[in-house]
């Protein structure tokens, strides 16, 4: 990625080539570079040097190569203020006794060392929610990836019009707002009038159906049923994105490879593992890491399904962090320690993600 070559260069005798490297920052500007006659992109303003106030900033920007810094400054400020700084703060809270009294300024903030962490790790709730998070991600991620990949492969084999129809309808699931999707599933699995209980009650017994078990079955009050509903919901919401990404990857695979495999009489299964998978491995890796990150600490869906996290057995790490921080009385220190643990786990995965992205050449 080179910098913008100064387009005005040809018509600018005496000016340095502005594609010069950083080491000429210190070099004295040659005559003609700071006369203000030349703007960044062109060489027209020669008659306007009686307006130094208009031209001077441009000269400074050009002389010190400030343009990229100025251009990225607003984004950097926003991200720094509202994303990076709060992360640092949460890190600090986790070593303090930060609670409602400290926020109000009634009691002093004290450093408490690792106390918040020892409290966290000795809390059985923490281990339950960690277990739930790990198991949930362990089930949802493979399911989403396999479903998405199968649909992606299907889309690739379908005719043009059919492919558009199917991909559009799956993407509608993706575009449905999370809260709406969750509310829909809540209703589908509702004990009173929900269509799933109705259907299960009418299934024959050897398929696990039966009116005795399923009439008025409440899915939301214990952990396993709630996580079953959440699994279906997250797979439904998540697979279209995987499918479209896989499809995009499949388009880059040369058709001759499949042609050759077909001539050799390879089964579709073998073709997938010998051709498609190795070629799309980088995409699969990124999708895998993204899915783990999304599903591990999932909050909104579970929070709504469990009714604001009323049942402790149903917590995952995402909900546990939130409840610890904002319970009554709120304990931001304890919540912060937990948030740090969650962030740390996710960052470990993120390192993998960044490395995979770099391997894919995303930083070029």
């Amino acid at each position: 990625m080179t910098k913008l070559p100064a387009p005005g260069r040809p018509g600018r005798p005496g000016a340095r080539p502005s594609g010069a490297q950083a080491d000429d920052l210190a070099a004295p500007p040659p005559p003609g570079a700071d006369t203000g006659l030349v703007t960044r992109f062109g060489a027209r303003r020669s008659g306007q040097d009686h307006l130094p106030w208009r031209v001077r900033p441009g000269v400074l920007v050009r002389r010190y190569h400030l343009a990229p810094y100025l251009l990225s400054a607003p984004a950097l400020a926003g991200v720094g203020w509202l994303i990076v700084w709060p992360t640092v703060q949460v890190g600090l809270f986790s070593f303090q006794n930060y609670g409602i009294l400290q926020v109000a300024g009634v009691a002093p903030t004290r450093w408490v060392g690792l106390a918040n962490f020892t409290t966290t790790f000795s809390d059985p709730e923490f281990w339950v929610s960690l277990r739930n998070s790990v198991l949930f991600a362990g089930v949802v991620v493979p399911l989403t990836l396999v479903t998405g990949t199968c649909v992606g492969l299907l889309l690739n084999r379908l005719g043009r019009r059919m492919s558009v129809v199917v991909s559009t309808s799956t993407l509608l699931a993706w575009a449905t707002p999370t809260v709406a999707a969750t509310v829909i599933f809540y209703w589908l699995f509702n004990p009173d009038g929900g269509v799933v209980d109705w259907a299960l009650a009418r299934l024959p017994g050897w398929l696990g159906g039966g009116a005795a078990t399923w009439t008025g079955f409440n899915w939301m009050t214990s952990a396993l049923p709630v996580y079953t509903v959440a699994t279906l919901l997250l797979v439904w919401q998540g697979f279209p994105f995987i499918a479209v990404s896989v499809l995009a990857g499949l388009k880059t695979v040369p058709a001759e490879l499949y042609e050759a495999a077909r001539v050799d009489g390879a089964t579709p299964w073998r073709t997938f593992w010998k051709i498609t998978y190795p070629l799309l491995k980088p995409i699969f890796l990124v999708l895998l890491l993204l899915s783990v990150i999304w599903d591990f600490g999932v909050f909104t869906q579970l929070y709504i399904l469990t009714g604001s996290g009323a049942n402790l057995d149903e917590y995952n790490l995402g909900i546990y962090v939130y409840q610890r921080a904002f319970s009554t009385p709120p304990s931001y220190g304890l919540g912060g320690a937990l948030a740090l643990v969650l962030t740390f786990i996710l960052l470990l995965i993120t390192v993998g993600y960044v490395r995979a992205s770099i391997k894919q050449g995303a930083l070029r």
Partner: protein, 310 residues
């Protein structure tokens, strides 16, 4: 920090769904035709299963109470009614009409999308067109920042916003949504800016255009498809966002709720009025889906354009 919708992967590789090729070498005889039929049938099945929950939501929204709780549910309402929508618009359980929340959400989302697109575009120019000292660090930071869990950040943001008097205020949410949409937007727009041929900017410069003019007259129109693609992501993020709104908006002032908070609040207040809940959530779902369908064509074209690297 877009939940399910962002990813660096999408912006690069090839064409989108709309550019499907013909069925790949479908043999000649009946087996080929059978296979094509089977494939299409599977495709239809996938579409139907995927759309079923959405269809059920819409159908419930039009059903009278009696049919909603009938012993044998029917896929379509036998006696369609608008009563549920009436409840939602007249204020029903919450006492405030749906339009209030709709306007809140629309205001927050559109402002955040516009602001973040502009800021991201400018930053994308910096990353795509210049080699500068912290460029790589900046890019890696954008990747990492997307992964930070919102449940963690919300703790500190709650305290900061309390101090700044930005709790329970829509401008506070706009600030947050703008900032959180930036990383993915910059990451995506970068490729689109890089795809604009420099020669066009040079030509304009030789003709005497200044930087501002080049930005608005050359770069902006050329990356417009990219902006559309990016804005889909930030629109869906801001329209969906739950945890910040849940934490910052006080239940004592429901007039400031955004739609996701309204829908769940409504569900909490009237937990058995499923017709009205589904009507509210149908209305909540329409804008993102309409927006998505509207720009889908252009988005596909934009993503393809972004994939072309110089």
């Amino acid at each position: 920090m877009t939940a399910r919708q962002g990813a660096a992967v999408t912006a690069r590789p090839g064409p989108l769904p709309s550019a499907g090729p013909a069925v790949r070498a479908p043999g000649r005889g009946t087996t080929g035709r059978l296979r094509a039929v089977a494939l299409n049938a599977t495709g239809v099945a996938v579409a139907v299963v995927t759309l079923a929950p959405i269809a059920w939501m819409i159908s419930t929204a039009f059903k009278p109470q009696r049919e909603i709780f009938s012993l044998t549910p029917h896929p379509l309402p036998a006696h369609p009614t608008l009563a549920n929508f009436g409840t939602v618009f007249s204020g029903g359980a919450v006492g405030i009409t749906f339009w209030t929340f709709f306007v809140n959400s629309l205001l927050v989302t559109l402002t955040a999308v516009a602001a973040s697109s502009l800021i991201a575009l400018v930053a994308a120019v910096a990353v795509a067109r210049f080699a500068f000292r912290f460029r790589t660090s900046f890019l890696i930071m954008l990747l990492v920042v997307q992964m930070l869990p919102q449940q963690a950040l919300v703790i500190a943001l709650f305290i900061d916003f309390r101090a700044l008097n930005l709790l329970d205020s829509l401008p506070g949410l706009i600030l947050l949504y703008t900032a959180f949409a930036l990383p993915i937007s910059i990451w995506m727009l970068r490729n689109f800016v890089a795809a604009v041929p420099r020669e066009m900017e040079e030509a304009a410069a030789i003709d005497g255009a200044g930087p501002a003019r080049i930005f608005w007259r050359i770069l902006f129109p050329l990356v417009a498809p990219g902006l559309v693609a990016t804005s889909v992501f930030s629109f869906i993020f801001a329209w969906n966002e739950y945890i910040f709104a849940l934490t910052f908006l006080s239940p004592n002032t429901p007039g400031k709720f955004t739609l996701p908070i309204y829908v769940t609040y409504f569900m909490g207040q009237h937990s058995s009025d499923w017709g009205a809940i589904m009507a509210a959530s149908t209305l909540y779902t329409i804008p993102p889906i309409a927006f998505f369908l509207l720009v889908q064509r252009r988005m596909a074209r934009g993503l393809v354009a972004g994939a072309v690297k110089g």
